[in-house]
């Protein structure tokens, strides 16, 4: 599924990363726990309700670069700056974590474990 299709399915706003909309996504991981994200060997799309600079920094360290922020949390300027430096994609949507996971799972996005 492409990032563009994901954005459409989730009725999400593209905060940054318009240039990468045609890239394919196969796997996703959902967590608010950055400690957990840091244990991943793989580099899935991240679905998270934690929306602060640490989210972006953690993704940078863990080399994840596609992030879906749920529940319309405000993506701040400093988050966008850091995301831009690292050529990341951030989608923001109003749905809950549960709904986002359900929709994406149903659409064929695979879990890691």
């Amino acid at each position: 599924m492409t990032i563009r299709e994901i954005a459409k399915l989730l009725n999400a706003t593209v905060c940054i990363g318009e240039n990468r909309m045609d890239e394919e996504v196969e796997h996703a991981f959902a967590s608010d726990l950055m400690s957990d994200v840091l244990t991943l060997k793989e580099t899935p799309m991240l679905i998270t309700g934690l929306c602060n600079v640490q989210t972006i920094r953690t993704c940078d360290m863990a080399t994840l670069d596609i992030i879906v922020v749920v529940r319309n949390k405000k993506v701040t300027e400093d988050m966008l700056e850091l995301a831009e430096d690292n050529d990341m994609v951030i989608l923001s949507c109003a749905y809950s974590m549960f709904k986002v996971c359900g929709l994406l799972y149903e659409a064929g996005i695979k879990p890691l474990f």
Partner: protein
């Protein structure tokens, strides 16, 4: 190549500055990306610990052709029982730290998994030093 960084207590906004700068350096040196990830994840965990659990400190990095050595030395309360702290799930993180997405007690075990050599020394009331090495 020697690099030094300062980390400041409670300064979560800048947590990861050292790690991300090391990441850029290693990329320029064409180090294997899976090694880079191991290095920066471990260093970031140590950096966050110095910010979250101690009163800040210093990050010292030495890079040569076959390995990287990292030392994160903080001034802080120290770790009374290092073996306990190394156990997965053990955490004394404050609520502010948990709000930032940390405090699951996974950091030290994760450092262990990512580096080739890990040495934690600590003196209660003085501080903690985490030494790590990753071979390229």
């Amino acid at each position: 190549m020697h690099q030094e960084y300062t980390v400041i207590e409670g300064d979560f906004v800048n947590a990861g500055k050292a790690s991300s700068s090391v990441k850029k350096t290693l990329k320029q040196l064409n180090v294997d990306p899976t090694k880079i990830k191991r290095v920066v994840v471990a260093l970031y965990e140590a950096e966050v610990n110095a910010i979250a659990h101690a009163y800040g400190g210093k990050v010292l990095v030495d890079i040569d052709s076959d390995k990287i050595k990292m030392v994160v030395a903080d001034k802080g309360p120290g770790i009374p029982d290092i073996a306990l702290a190394m156990q997965e799930g053990y955490s004394t993180a404050r609520p502010e730290v948990r709000d930032m997405g940390f405090g699951a007690g996974m950091g030290l075990p994760n450092m262990q998994k990512n580096v080739d050599k890990l040495n934690v020394t600590s003196e209660v009331g003085v501080g903690t030093t985490v030494e790590m090495e990753v071979n390229f």
